[in-house]
């Protein structure tokens, strides 16, 4: 593993180091657990809004909708636990573990880099740059299209959960008590929670596409980085 000093040098002179350890194991574990939880949440959430066809037989013979909702809530807890762990890791992990939570809007150099990346994605730049962590544009979308919506989904999700868990439950006291009055009524929370799902689905589409595309077209590894933690650079040029 590289020391902090090595890491800085790597950032400064990408050409001298072919590989950098970027994503530590807990972060990678979180990434995939989180991705799985969100997949389950989006699928079961969709069915909560539009239930599958009616079940035949006696009511006691089936618990289909109960299981769908149970899976949603269980995945919701996994998501929350993961999220708390991820926030904790931002404090104790390496520098890259903090990127997700930052939007350096007052840093003009960062905006320049983001504009460069935007041009790269708009096919206006011929040669991509090297990045050890997320590139600024990725950071921008991660923050606005992932971090904020996820926070929103957790807050509204547990507010809805607290309604079923009844007044006095932790979710009700912590979330339902202020979220539902803030939106006006429960149906609004449902509608926004539902819209939030689509925001996250859009993020995942763009994210997975960008990860695979960058894996092929950029000058560093992508998908394998989230598996092994190592960022490999494909060339020695700066």
């Amino acid at each position: 593993m590289l020391s902090a000093q090595d890491m800085q040098e790597a950032v400064a002179h990408g050409r001298q180091v072919r590989a950098v350890y970027v994503y530590e194991a807990p972060l990678r574990l979180w990434h995939w657990v989180n991705a799985l939880a969100i997949t389950v949440l989006a699928m079961t959430g969709y069915f909560i809004g539009s239930p599958p066809p009616s079940q035949p037989g006696e009511a006691s013979a089936s618990f289909l909708f109960g299981y769908i909702r149970f899976a949603h809530f269980a995945a919701g807890y996994v998501l929350l636990a993961g999220f708390i762990g991820r926030v904790y890791w931002a404090f104790v992990g390496n520098e890259h573990s903090r990127q997700l939570f930052k939007l350096p809007v007052f840093d003009s150099a960062w905006w320049k880099e983001a504009a460069f990346e935007l041009r790269w994605y708009l096919f206006l730049e011929r040669h991509p740059k090297k990045y050890v962590g997320h590139n600024p544009l990725a950071q921008f979308t991660m923050f606005l299209l992932f971090f904020l919506p996820l926070l929103f989904m957790i807050v509204t999700g547990f507010a809805l959960y607290g309604e079923g868990a009844q007044a006095g439950s932790w979710a009700s006291m912590l979330f339902t008590s202020w979220v539902v009055p803030m939106f006006g009524q429960s149906q609004d929370v449902h509608t926004w929670h539902h819209l939030g799902m689509w925001a996250i689905v859009v993020f995942v589409m763009v994210h997975v596409y960008a990860a695979i595309r960058e894996d092929i077209m950029s000058r560093q590894s992508m998908v394998s980085t989230m598996l092994s933690g190592w960022r490999m650079f494909k060339d020695d040029k700066p």
Binding site: Y46, G49, S50, P51, P52, P53, S54, Q55, A59, S60, A61, S62, F63, L64, F65, G66, I68, Y121, F123, E163, G164, Q166, A167, S177, W178, P181, G184, Q185, S186, Q187, D188, H190, T191, H194, L195, M197, W198, A199, V201, V202, M205, V206, Y209, R213, I216, M217
Partner: protein, 361 residues
């Protein structure tokens, strides 16, 4: 001299036996144990009578209609004709100046000590001209009577939230009571109309215990608005099983399956219909085969269809709901991703050719 509740009741010919019956019924409808019966009786015997003034603004009188059909006749009679209701222009005998005189009399005699019940709400546009009571805008009467009251009860969704007269675009600017009167304790009893037993119980609670029942964050009494229709719905087993009516005339509807897919708002509506029920506990909407429309929730009239689960979002157009908006977003972004991928692939192959020719040089 100011009379007690009990004295008034006796004067009206109520026997002590009937009086005690009324006390136990009230305790039961408030969800209190038998130990509270003597406490209610004691309060009634010793407390000076608290009059209730009942004002009507922009409304349809369904709250009054509900109230006078309270299933416990004793509770209703006691509250309505004997104990307290001193002014209620739709059901009192006096009219015109006589009626207004009663209002003034109670307001001076019981200054700071009467309860103001409001049915309907004041429209504020056009100087309040859309609702005139006794020749003056209702909002003036409301402010005048509210000034010296002890507390306000907002009857129904009109007084609590605004209801249909406040539906977009709300041309008269019908405004719920708590947005006009801000310096008095207000208890909201929403519903269109609220359940009769809930109404009498709330009044009785306030009269006997001399305080507001415990309220939730939105100002509703927790004892009746603490749970959703869905939490106590007798069709809930069908919901959990995944057994739904999918059309009003299908087998599921005939078998009494859950009405979730037909747009039932039970899961998002706080009220006591599924426990207290209506008309002497005979039934409630879901039991009669129709989904809950959420009439006791804020803005229920502006929240899209009564018959759809994923409700429309008007800001995005008439036919839009979360899934349609999401579907369009996914379609657009998906198309963009595919187009972007195609261009990327061309660029990439050109670049590789370029690299190859560079190496060949």
């Amino acid at each position: 001299m100011v009379e007690t509740f009990y004295e008034v009741m006796r004067r009206q010919g109520i026997t002590r036996r009937s009086f005690l019956k009324y006390c136990s019924l009230t305790a039961a409808s408030l969800g209190l144990g038998p130990a509270f019966v003597p406490r209610i009786a004691h309060a009634m015997e010793t407390k000076p009578r608290t009059p209730v003034l009942w004002l009507h603004g922009l409304e349809c009188t369904c709250c009054s209609e509900s109230f006078i059909r309270s299933a416990h006749p004793l509770a209703k009679d006691a509250v309505l004709s004997m104990i307290s209701l001193d002014y209620d222009d739709t059901i009192m005998t006096a009219a015109g100046h006589q009626a207004e005189a009663i209002l003034d009399e109670v307001m001076t005699k019981y200054k700071g000590n009467y309860i103001l019940a409001v049915e309907g709400n004041p429209p504020l546009n056009q100087d309040g001209m859309s609702c005139i009571i006794g020749g003056k805008p209702f909002v003036d009467q409301l402010k005048r009577v509210a000034k010296d009251c002890k507390a306000i009860i907002s009857w129904g969704s009109c007084a609590s939230w605004g209801c249909v007269q406040a539906a977009k675009p709300n041309p008269t600017q019908a405004t719920p009571v708590h947005k006009v009167i801000t310096d008095k304790p207000i208890i909201k009893v929403p519903g269109c109309p609220p359940i009769a037993e809930v109404m009498t119980a709330v009044i009785t609670y306030m009269l006997t215990f001399d305080r507001l029942p415990e309220l939730d964050r939105q100002g509703r009494p927790k004892m009746f608005y603490g749970q959703r229709i869905h939490d106590k719905c007798y069709r809930r087993p069908h919901f959990d099983a995944g057994q739904f009516a999918e059309a009003w005339d299908d087998d599921g509807a005939r078998r009494g399956y859950c009405l979730y897919k037909m747009g039932c708002k039970g899961p998002t509506t706080y009220n006591a219909c599924s426990t207290v029920r209506w008309n002497d506990g005979v039934s409630f909407p879901i039991q009669s085969g129709h989904g809950c429309i959420g009439c006791s929730e804020d803005g229920f009239w502006d929240k899209g269809g009564f018959y759809e689960r994923v409700t429309g979002i008007k800001q995005f157009g008439i036919e839009a709901n979360a899934d349609k908006i999401g579907g369009v977003a996914v379609g657009v972004v998906g198309a963009a991703v595919v187009a972007h991928a195609a261009v990327s692939a061309i660029k990439q192959s050109r670049r590789q050719q370029g690299d190859a020719s560079e190496q060949n040089k």
